[in-house]
């Protein structure tokens, strides 16, 4: 699959950055869901 170490590094770094981006985006819906009850009760 990987011919040289460079290919492997590029693959792993890309997967790492993409996963980090997805996880960072997921923080927002998680936080909104978690604290949604608080807002509902305040209303």
């Amino acid at each position: 699959m990987y011919n040289v170490l460079h290919d492997f590094t590029i693959h792993v770094k890309t997967a790492g950055y993409l996963t980090a981006a997805v996880l960072l985006i997921l923080i927002v819906p998680f936080w909104l869901y978690l604290t949604g009850g608080e807002k509902k009760r305040k209303k």
């Binding site: 492997f8 792993v12 997967a15 790492g16 993409l18 980090a20 996880l23 923080i27 869901y33 978690l34």
Partner: protein, 386 residues
């Protein structure tokens, strides 16, 4: 001298069953010391770390209840949780006691346990750092509990001195906990070929520390429930108030678990270990991550959002099981994973009995201390003063 309640009954179902387990387990411990490790364990030169090492990690991780709650109360000022501090610190102290006891069983020459400090220090070794931190933290937790003893003795002046330094002790304890919780993970950095790639990571110290955070919070939730069930007549907190505290702890646990889950997913990405996931051990990894991290994480979040304390307590059980499974996976199940099955380590029945013996001992001591000292209630002479 003693300002506690009525005398508890001696003959109860718990006492009888615990007494039998302690008697049988005590015999096994004597046999282990009489005939050595080879008699009582299946450890070998290939597998020198077994079930007892796994439970050392479990005891320390779950003993995080002490630092988790004292940090919340004394550093972050969440005073409403103060009522749970003493039971949490006592549970933490007993967790470390069990760690030390199982370490003494596991060491070939347990009587040389002081060697790292006095005879042959190894300051570059992770194990030395763990020994130093655990010894110091054990002393710190003991000092945090000494006001309980001084109240019982009626030594008001000494009690006042210890209560006045509790914030300092908490900061010191948090510092030491962060160090040794992560260093226990760092021990496994020495075995990259032996530990399965899904569990091995250069960030394994971080995994250990982060999982101890939600493990500690989950233990506080369960300890609160246990105390309310067993000592409801003593606890000066209503069921409704305890439910509110449980819901608040659930939010903390959900956030800690979300951070841990994200770090673990990142780890698979950075180590490029996706292809291991659909192997037998990989499926077991999925059970750990989905069943005992992701599921309790969402149940915690749902329980907090909908204010359901029962659901949060169920999530706490799953989360504690998740920490136990993680530590046993690292130390036993995913360890030496490339060895042929017939050569692999399977714990001896005496190892299981010793673990049950120690857990029972911990519960019995917790019950005894809570029955006789001001743990789950304020001492009448120092009402709301600790």
């Amino acid at each position: 001298m003693n300002g506690t309640m009525e005398k508890p009954r001696l003959i109860t179902p718990f006492n009888v069953i615990a007494g039998m387990i302690l008697l049988f387990g005590g015999v096994i411990v004597v046999l282990r010391y009489a005939y050595g490790l080879a008699y009582a364990t299946n450890l070998s030169n290939d597998t020198a770390w077994g079930l007892w090492t796994g439970f050392k990690l479990v005891f320390v991780a779950l003993a995080a209840s002490g630092y988790a709650l004292t940090t919340a109360v004394y550093i972050f000022g969440m005073k409403e949780y103060h009522v749970l501090v003493r039971p949490a610190v006592l549970a933490g102290f007993l967790g470390y006691t069990l760690f030390i006891l199982i370490l003494l069983f596991d060491l070939g020459r347990g009587w040389r346990i002081y060697y790292p400090f006095l005879i042959q220090a190894g300051p570059t070794s992770a194990l030395f750092e763990i020994a130093l931190c655990v010894a110091l933290y054990y002393t710190t937790q003991f000092l945090e509990l000494t006001p309980v003893g001084f109240e019982w003795l009626g030594w008001k002046r000494w009690r006042r001195v210890l209560v006045s330094v509790v914030v300092g002790l908490t900061v010191f304890g948090l510092f030491l906990s962060m160090l040794h919780q992560s260093s226990l993970g760092a021990l496994f950095l020495t075995v990259p070929g032996k530990l399965h790639p899904l569990w091995y990571s250069k960030y394994i110290p971080l995994h250990f520390f982060m999982s101890s955070c939600f493990g500690g919070i989950s233990m506080v939730i369960l300890i609160g429930l246990l105390c309310k069930r067993v000592w409801s007549h003593k606890m000066e907190i209503s069921r409704e108030k305890l439910d509110q505290l449980t819901i608040g702890l659930g939010k903390g646990a959900a956030i800690a678990m979300a951070a841990y889950f994200a770090v673990k997913v990142m780890d698979v990405a950075l180590n490029d270990t996706w292809h291991y996931i659909f192997t037998p051990l990989g499926l077991w990894y999925l059970v750990e991550m989905l069943g005992f991290v992701l599921l309790p994480l969402f149940l915690y979040a749902f329980g907090y959002r909908e204010r359901r304390p029962g659901l949060i307590r169920f999530s706490a059980v799953l989360a504690v099981l998740g920490v136990i499974i993680h530590r046993l996976n690292v130390a036993v199940i995913a360890f030496n994973w490339q060895m042929p099955l017939e050569q692999r380590y399977f714990p001896h029945w005496m190892e299981y009995v010793t673990v049950v013996f120690l857990i029972t001992l911990g519960l019995a001591v917790f019950k005894f201390v809570s029955n006789h000292f001001a743990i789950v209630h304020d001492h009448p002479d120092y009402h709301a003063g600790h």
